[in-house]
């Protein structure tokens, strides 16, 4: 047996997955509370003991870890126009597995810099201007950032013409500058992979040690990526496959948590109709978005604000008063588990509306334009209506027996101009292994794919050719 141990230091749970490379099987999984406030190794050891009970005594040839503990990778994105480079910067940071705590557009002000100091990001992504485009704003922003008192590395991924000027202005011990390709070299064209590679490198070299997460050196090879980046890597592999084995094709994934909701799409999302014109930024093939105001507990209020209390009432069959009362109780006690029929109905409605809101914000929209030659359509963002696989993960959905109905309810949106998936099949990440497989893919891609397809593929359809 060739065993590998995969570790996910999550914000709440530390999850371990043991894999046998020879048989491409998950041997066992185990979890315990993450103990980031003291020493993460305490929670890790407890989970490991539990795992050993299941697997017996085995030697691991490799230990790989990802982390979203201690706040995860917190980033600030700066761009020029909100719908262009600021959005490109945000998408780049999301794709790198970061939590984007703030996005700025146009010139930074003194109070913006104060706010940045107070937010104290792990990394700041500085963009603005296409290559050869606007220089004034990014150079102004570099000068402003140089006055920041907090220490953070800066990834420069803006107008190529300003790179030297900005590095000279900004580079210091407090703000080391890492330069890379422009996130939007040509108008509306995204180029976010180079920036993501640099972010990941900084995460590895600087941030992990700063968060007290590297004491486990020797035990494991170290934390190689933020958890969402591992999930994105697993989903991309599952969708595309390798040269040897086909993947399952385009997919959408939903990670519904207590505080946030992550949506992933691995899909081209081009218009399905020849008469539809694509507008705005061409979005990434592997796209991740995070809704910081949408979650089952810490952000339950955000769900109701976004979807409307009438909609919660309609789906749950409860009165608005009952909903408000339950919400108040959630605000009191975030660890509340639904017991009564009413509470279960309420949680069902919250989950469906969280998934719906996340999907609607992630997917594109179709706008109808009346022209003298008849109606025409323009599409902004990705068209996911034809994507046939939906994968659900995150505690709230994994532990719900109603996850199929929740997703079906979520995508039941009458407005056809909202381009969310419409008739997809839902599969559950029942063993909670997505992040582990993203890690394994960096070491043994074929095995990771085999396990993923066993878990999420339909029987026989995707057999190796």
């Amino acid at each position: 047996m060739r065993a590998v141990l995969l570790i996910d230091f999550g914000s709440t749970y530390t999850k371990l997955t043991a894999v046998d490379l020879d048989t491409a099987q998950v041997l066992a999984t185990a979890d315990d509370f993450t103990t980031a406030s003291t020493d993460v190794m305490i929670g890790f050891e407890k989970a490991l003991k539990e795992l050993q009970v299941k697997t017996g005594d085995i030697t691991y040839e490799k230990r790989l870890a990802c982390s979203s503990a201690a706040g995860g990778l917190q980033m600030i994105a700066c761009g020029l126009v909100p719908a262009l480079t600021a959005k490109a910067a945000k998408l780049a940071a999301f794709g790198a597995g970061a939590k984007v705590i703030k996005t700025y557009a146009y010139e930074l002000t003194k109070s913006d810099v104060d706010e940045i100091d107070q937010k104290n990001p792990d990394i700041l992504l500085l963009t603005g201007g296409t290559d050869g485009g606007n220089r004034e704003v990014i150079e102004h922003n570099a000068r402003m950032l140089a006055t920041a008192k907090s220490a953070f590395p800066v990834v420069y991924a803006g107008n190529r013409a300003s790179v030297d000027v900005c590095r000279d202005i900004l580079h210091s011990d407090l703000h080391p500058v890492f330069t890379t390709d422009n996130v939007m070299p040509v108008l509306n064209k995204l180029n976010i992979l180079p920036a993501q590679a640099v972010i990941r490198k900084i995460f590895l070299e600087k941030i992990i040690s700063g968060k007290g997460l590297s004491q486990e050196k020797g035990l494991i090879e170290g934390i190689i990526m933020p958890t969402p980046a591992a999930v994105l890597a697993a989903l991309t592999l599952l969708s595309e496959g390798t040269e040897k084995q086909r993947g399952i094709g385009e997919l959408v994934a939903v990670d519904l948590g207590g505080a946030t909701t992550d949506i992933y799409s691995i899909a081209k999302g081009l218009p399905n109709n020849a008469s539809t014109v694509l507008h705005g930024l061409r979005e990434p093939y592997a796209k991740r978005t995070v809704e910081g105001d949408i979650g089952m507990r810490y952000s339950a209020k955000g769900i109701i604000e976004a979807a409307g209390i009438e909609e919660v009432a309609r789906i749950s069959g409860l009165s608005e008063t009952t909903i408000s009362e339950f919400l108040a109780r959630i605000e009191e006690d975030k660890s509340i588990i639904p017991q009564t029929e009413e509470e279960i109905a309420m949680d069902y409605a919250l989950a469906a509306l969280a998934v719906r809101t996340g999907l609607i914000r992630h997917a594109g929209v179709l706008e109808q334009v009346y022209t003298p030659v008849g109606p025409a359509y323009q599409q902004v963002g990705k068209d996911l209506t034809e994507v046939s696989n939906i994968i659900v993960t995150g505690g709230a959905l994994i532990h719900s027996p109603d996850y199929q109905e929740i997703v079906r309810e979520a995508v039941n949106v009458p407005d056809e101009q909202i381009l969310i998936p419409r008739k997809a099949e839902v599969t559950k990440d029942k063993q909670y292994i997505l992040s582990a497989m993203g890690l394994l893919a960096t070491y043994h891609q074929d095995t990771a794919l085999k396990i993923l397809i066993n878990e999420f593929g339909k029987d026989g359809v995707y057999a190796a050719s």
């Binding site: 126009v81 050869g132 485009g133 507008h279 022209t371 025409a376 323009q378």
Partner: protein, 138 residues
């Protein structure tokens, strides 16, 4: 000399794509950096593209007769967005019916367009105008 850059596109709910492609090739051939936004372009898209790519001129096409409605306020929005001196051109079949072009032109000049081109203008005419306005060459 650094290449001057132009934003082109067909404004409003207008889907006439052929002339737009012809202009794209003609302006590129003439040595400009051309950012083509295609058809059904809103005023905001023209402006955002011009900011991000620091364009020297915005060339608006309108072929379906609603140009006057679609173009109103574009200069004001450019000013608001900090594109104070950007060159604005408009051309195509910009109004409905057979109106005297001089009157039409005056209305668009009043809206803040630097140049207004009559239906059937050849790309060469516009290229000559650009040369004069951007490089001061006659």
């Amino acid at each position: 000399m650094e290449k001057k850059s132009l934003i082109i596109g067909v404004i409003g709910a207008d889907v006439h794509a052929v002339g737009n492609q012809i202009l794209y090739f003609a302006f590129r051939e003439a040595g400009y950096e051309v950012i083509n936004l295609g058809v059904t372009v809103s005023q905001e898209e023209f402006i955002e593209a011009a900011i991000e790519s620091k364009a020297d001129a915005i060339l608006v096409s309108s072929l379906y007769g609603h140009g006057e409605l679609d173009c109103q306020g574009l200069r004001d929005k450019c000013n608001e967005a900090g594109l104070k001196d950007i060159l604005l051109y408009v051309g195509g079949n910009i109004v409905v019916g057979k109106q005297p072009f001089d009157e039409v032109k005056q209305r668009f000049v009043n809206m803040g367009f630097n140049r207004v081109f009559a239906p059937g203008t050849s790309p060469e005419t516009t290229i000559a105008a650009l040369k004069e306005d951007l490089y001061g060459e006659k």
